[in-house]
Symmetry: C2
Subunit: 490 residues, 2 copies
């Protein structure tokens, strides 16, 4: 089956429907939003077999992984919906104390949805970060209507997921424009969506190039709009000397598994391993190499990813100073990614900016530093990251305080003695970070706080109680936590 | 005294000092931040007389107003500092429940400061939105270091305020780089500041042209950074029929006072008055005209503002369809602004986009609509606003629900039967709105939530208790509200 690009006329109609539906959906109760998200979760479960079969065909991801991911997608919908209904995220605030001059005050602030949101899903998460994924769940929970552009690498999966969402929307007796689904292999579809005046925000998960392009279009509009694009991250791992010495093999085992998990196609893949040259590092290299050699190359998500992996990996390996530490013994067939770990001296890495960027796929680069000063220079040189990992003993942490402080300024999640892959979906998670990890470090894409990307404060001044949204009414009918005259109360 | 532009070399040094100071200041306790803000407030009070004298000379604002504004500035510093110390704004979140697969979880999220922030103050608030004003207070409270570019229209006031801040920084034994002050009448100083890689955010209050330019520079960086620019707003007032009929004179009195308050130099000045033609509107016009005629022209803030007012007012008055409703009987002397209210029919206003923009100064435009449909067209055509005001009876509100819904999508504060001037400094306030009111509708510039512009979430994974910031430690030593395993608790 082929999926041709949505025509200009249909795009316009889609956007107008999304705005018309927004006029209604924005005033649905929080409970109604929760109900919609639960219904979408239920429809996804109903279509689970077909969804997984399609995704296996289109992404080459194994069944177990996809089952797991679908479960996560369902959990996101349900938990973001529950968070929306719980209402605490609104940070509802009421001030009725007279001001310093003795004048009456009646100010009540809540969050309102931004408007129609365009979502560009990810190739590497056909469920959890695509059509009915985290951005869609966040935007719907925040009260926005959503237009999804199907990812060209898994249009069938996207179409099935979109049908499930549409069914839920219909069953909830909401207008169809609450959720729309369009196709666009060409850039122009995305451009038209992002530039349309009725579109009020954008969610994106994917490459730096793609995300930055959408961001630029959105900022060049007559009225710039918020874009949350989650893009590239190399997720450096700093292995400090005492910890490395204490357990070189364990670290090698953990990191080998982490950088090749899902064929290295996770945005939190540890792509840079940084350590100071030492006998322990040699032992680590040996064990890491043994692990990598035993790896089996697997199919990458799609042709484009496989090509890009081939290209960026070759370019990296051909860079002066880079040498292969280990490849999987089994050679990669067409469209597979060959697990690879390379190494370079820090002084050379520092001079090659293209090596500072993500290589998407089962590839990691080990940077060997001559001393702690060089390691600090590497830390200073890295860009914004989703995650940074420190492998350290107590003693290391004492000695490398300034390194920890330096990397803290550049990442959204700081991990001690763990691996960055494995992103828990909960409010305590931060999945975001300074550019180029994302386009706005103040927001995140995972957990209920992801809703905040798509809402803005609105202050009601002097409105009578019955015309206020429920969360601002005197009686607190929703029984949510609110700040009333300076006190947090419910 | 003349204030020459800060040289390139000194700018670079200033930015580097701001970064060096940030490395230390970011780890000060919340209580230490509060202490700094209190100290700044105290120094401003100490320098009160000199500050007010300088501001009177430079801005022509009357003493009573400036005293009031200085009091507000002190209150902002103290209340934002207190809010920072209270720690609830951090939304500290801890998750230690095992995940669905039974694996241990230890995720703890708080907010960390973005880094050095550049602040561009406003001409119309020489204290409250300038050197030691709301943006500086927010950024310091959030843990950022600050570089202020003095407003070229009040460099002496800015220099005195900066000296007060610097004294407080010194007394608190903090590095001088926590707060810096530079001069730049030329655009290039602002450009250099905003484009420097060590600068991590920008706060601006002023014109659409100025704010948009800074925003564009910031977004065109290799690594775009957050810019919160509060810019133009016409703050429309929709006078609905029954309310207008019930009290045309009262409305005219309120609005005449509001649009000329502070010589119309408030960002919340009601610049567009919208009503349906009727005998009541005629009575309103009469009373409004009587009021405006009695007004006394006053000195505008500075030459540039006076020139711009002259220019934009003339351009508006010369537009086809615009007629003067009333001018102050007393003609304006040089550098004064003549209070002016003009009128136009809605069908003509709709076709003249330049009339949709703010005219900064004591000017308002009354739009006479033929019917409710035209009024709705006006509502639909207005851009993003800081405020929108509805003058309405209960009956009006029933009848004009879709108008209210329409304007709600476009403003940060929605006022019923009041005037938009008069911005309470409290958490329930929203001072912000969709573009062009600001560059990001999800943030605001007034009240403690203004801190959120300058901080970002950081998640600590698996860190031992003693290496966590106080707000994330098991014992909750700060006794702040936190979300621990899903429960809000302290």
């Amino acid at each position: 089956m082929s999926y041709s690009d949505t025509s200009h006329a249909v795009l316009l109609e889609t956007i107008e429907n999304a705005q018309a539906a927004f006029s209604l959906y924005k005033n649905c109760s929080l409970e109604q939003r929760f109900s919609l998200l639960r219904a979408i979760a239920a429809e996804l479960k109903n279509s689970g077999e077909a969804l997984i079969a399609a995704a296996m065909r289109e992404t080459h991801l194994p069944e177990a992984r996809l089952k797991n991911e679908l479960g996560r997608t369902v959990f996101q919908l349900e938990s973001y919906g529950a968070a929306a209904a719980a209402g605490r995220w609104l940070d509802a605030t009421i001030e009725t104390r007279p001001n310093a001059a003795g004048a009456a005050v009646n100010l009540r602030k809540t969050l309102v949805p931004l408007g129609p949101v365009v979502v560009f899903g990810a190739s590497n998460f056909p469920f959890a970060y695509s059509t009915a994924g985290g951005d869609t769940a966040s935007a719907l929970a925040a009260g926005c209507t959503v237009i999804v552009k199907a990812h060209p690498a898994h249009p069938e999966t996207s179409t099935l997921a979109a049908a499930a969402v549409a069914k839920a929307v219909e069953k909830q007796q909401l207008p169809a424009g609450v959720f729309s689904h369009v196709y666009g292999a060409s850039f122009s579809v995305g451009e038209e969506l992002v530039k349309h005046p009725l579109v009020k925000a954008v969610g994106f998960t994917g490459s730096l190039r793609g995300g930055k392009q959408l961001f630029d279009w959105a900022q060049q509009r007559k009225d710039p709009i918020p874009v949350f694009a989650e893009m590239g991250s190399v997720n450096p791992v700093f292995m400090l000397p005492a910890q490395l010495q204490a357990q070189p093999s364990l670290l090698a085992d953990q990191l080998a598994a982490s950088f090749t998990l899902g064929a290295g196609q996770f945005c939190t893949k540890p792509g840079l391993l940084v350590a100071i040259a030492s006998p322990a590092l040699t032992a680590f290299e040996q064990q890491l190499s043994d692990q990598v050699k035993r790896m089996i190359p697997v199919h990458l998500l799609h042709e484009g990813i496989a090509e890009a992996y081939g290209h960026h990996r070759s370019k990296a390996l051909q860079t002066a100073g880079v040498s292969v530490l280990a490849l999987s013994d089994k050679e990669a067939a067409s469209q597979q990614g060959q697990p690879t770990v390379a190494t370079i001296k820090a002084e050379q890495w520092l001079q090659q900016p293209h090596l500072h960027q993500e290589v998407f796929g089962p590839y990691a680069l080990l940077i060997a530093c001559a001393n702690s000063k060089e390691m600090m220079a590497v830390a200073r040189t890295t860009e914004g990251q989703l995650t940074t990992t420190i492998m350290a003993s107590e003693e290391d942490l004492q000695q490398y305080r300034s390194l920890v402080e330096c990397v803290k300024e550049k990442c959204g999640r700081l991990i001690l003695n763990g691996v960055p892959t494995g992103v828990e979906v909960c409010k305590a998670m931060q999945h975001g970070g300074p550019f180029p990890a994302t386009t706005d470090p103040r927001f995140g894409a995972v957990g209920e706080d992801a809703l905040k990307r798509f809402a803005r404060p609105l202050c009601y001044q002097n409105w009578p109680n019955h015309l206020l949204p429920a969360e601002l009414q005197d009686e607190n009918p929703l029984r949510i936590f609110r700040t009333v005259n300076g006190e947090l109360t419910r």
